[in-house]
């Protein structure tokens, strides 16, 4: 598979096929991220399209200091932010529990044993089985959690990269990550119990 940098250097020479390959690689990840900023799919698509235009016209400005993906996401976030609804900078923080308090006894210990997800039936955790539940769980997360989860756990960016892209502190990033991950675990637990 061609690396991003190879495709970019072909794109600089006006290679249409390289553009199509980059689009195939990043269109869906970008849409997923954009949806964490804007209310509708149509607006998200516009922001993504706008980003591609920025890439094609601004390709000379890419210096290769950051990964292409990070550069791409930065342009997208800027465009999606200006298209998105205005948010209060300090949204009120709702109380949060990693696990429903009802699951603990009065000493704060698990009231019922926690079932391991692996064991004799290894295939219970097939990605293809639980992908759709995770996908919709991700879409239902509050936007700030969703952005962090998409960038960290779906796209695999580092904590530093995410803090820089989203302009948040590491502590804040961890809180959002904690809430998002514990919520997705809860969703999986429910699904697995039903299966």
């Amino acid at each position: 598979m061609d690396t991003d940098l190879e495709l970019l250097s072909r794109l600089r020479d006006g290679d249409e096929e390289a553009f199509v390959m980059l689009v195939a690689r990043y269109q869906q990840p970008m849409l997923r991220l954009a949806r964490a900023y804007v209310p509708s799919r149509a607006v998200a698509e516009e922001a993504v399209q706008d980003t591609w235009m920025g890439v094609v016209k601004g390709i000379e400005r890419f210096e290769g200091r950051a990964a292409f993906k990070t550069w791409l996401f930065r342009i997208l976030i800027n465009r999606a932010r200006s298209a998105g609804v205005r948010e209060r900078r300090h949204a009120t923080v709702e109380p949060h529990h990693a696990v429903d308090p009802i699951r603990f006894d009065t000493n704060g210990q698990w009231a019922e044993p926690v079932e391991p997800w692996t064991g004799d039936s290894e295939d219970r955790l097939e990605a293809s089985t639980w992908g759709p539940a995770l996908q919709s769980g991700l879409e239902d997360l509050p936007p700030r959690q969703r952005r962090v989860l998409v960038l960290r756990d779906v796209e695999g960016l580092s904590c530093d990269e995410v803090c820089e892209l989203l302009d948040i502190s590491p502590g804040n990033q961890r809180i959002l990550l904690h809430r998002g991950r514990t919520r997705l675990r809860e969703i999986l637990e429910t699904q697995i119990a039903k299966a």
Binding site: Q49, W110, T118, W130, G131, L134, T182, R185
Partner: protein
């Protein structure tokens, strides 16, 4: 029944420390207490495994394939941007 020392953490606290632990951002003393709790508590050990599996599965969410229409639209746009 676990016998609790004063400085021990309980399960309900442990589950709130999982992300900080995995991010490597727990202060040393908290980390030691957390690890001691995990060794003594199969439930929290199972819980952290579930979180790790959740992270792993989230990382395998596949992007859907781009529709031929979307690809054609963008190619069309590309030609226009290039000629502008």
């Amino acid at each position: 029944m676990l016998s609790l020392r004063r400085r021990d953490i309980v399960c309900q606290q442990a589950v709130e420390m999982v992300t900080d632990y995995l991010e490597g951002s727990l202060p040393r003393r908290s980390r030691r207490r957390f690890e001691a709790h995990l060794r003594a508590c199969p439930n929290c050990a199972a819980y952290i495994e579930q979180i790790k599996l959740t992270i792993e599965l989230t990382g395998t969410i596949e992007p859907e394939d781009l529709t031929p229409e979307a690809k054609a639209d963008l190619t069309e746009l590309y030609r226009r941007w290039r000629s502008e």
